[in-house]
Symmetry: C2
Amino acid sequence: MADIKPFGKALFLREEELRRGIELMYFAYRDFTGEADSILAEQDMGRAHHRAIYFVGRHPGMRVSDLLAILNITKQSLSRVLSTLVTDGYIIQKTGAGDRRQRLLYLTEKGIVLEARLTEVQGRRFAAAYRNAGAKAVEGFQHVLQGLLDAETRSQIDRQDQNE
Amino acid sequence: MADIKPFGKALFLREEELRRGIELMYFAYRDFTGEADSILAEQDMGRAHHRAIYFVGRHPGMRVSDLLAILNITKQSLSRVLSTLVTDGYIIQKTGAGDRRQRLLYLTEKGIVLEARLTEVQGRRFAAAYRNAGAKAVEGFQHVLQGLLDAETRSQIDRQDQNE
DNA sequence: GATAATTGGTCAACATGGCTGACATAAAAC
DNA sequence: GTTTTATGTCAGCCATGTTGACCAATTATC
């Protein structure tokens, strides 16, 4: 990947630029999750709980298998956090009307409150970053992030976008 | 991206847009680290080893305390991975010339090879995403990511940029 | 030159959240 | 009526974060 060419359009692909992206991605993700982690720690929960609460809040009535597909973890891993969330009253499971094998997932009032609080701190951070960078930058940001996704993740997201 | 906005400039700050960012960040970070994780697993290493190798490669001769400051973890956590990396011959520690308490960190040849391999797969992904999105988008991407950082992280990065 | 501070390391114990493998039950589908 | 699907559970392993206590070598300070 020599790319010494002193002019030409692909100059931004230099190794330095790529490393900059790699590092920014690491630091930004870490800081972006930090605040929520603190709130969760108060509640004796971790990031895994957050993800479950977040996506159930996003897709009320989703099936367990849907959540598993989104998170891409084993059902044993999910089960650990899901059962504590149900026990502690953040999530309720309702038997599916059509298919009674399904346990459709919903946030309780308590769950809705926590989800809102967590999404608010993360949303604030994004709102500030977005406002500061401007609408054009936001577009570019989303475009690049989409390009970093695995093909499967991308099609998964696309499918979701259509069902709304 | 519906983009219906009939009027008003700050419309992109709506909750949907923020949630889109939150989710993209989660999925992109996960997928972005996935490939490297696979390579590391072959070597019986994890992400923590990767971070150490990466930053030592980036700042040869750095002190242990510098690495700790960058990673923002405890020395006990770092010690665990650092000592295996030294034992397995990826990193060497040289006593500081001026201050003999310091153990300056360097990659070995073996370490350099592994670092290059890991950075290459991540760099490829970024290069593809960058190429696809265009230079303007890359600028926006970096701008937004910087806006997501904690103030301390930002000043830390700035300081580093100056020392180069 | 004695004392204090810095740099780095170590032992032990604990929590979180991934993983595999094996197995169980209820409901639906064929 | 058998098979498949959706979900859950037990048991154990691993990686990587944490806290707390303590130690040695070296440097800096009074």
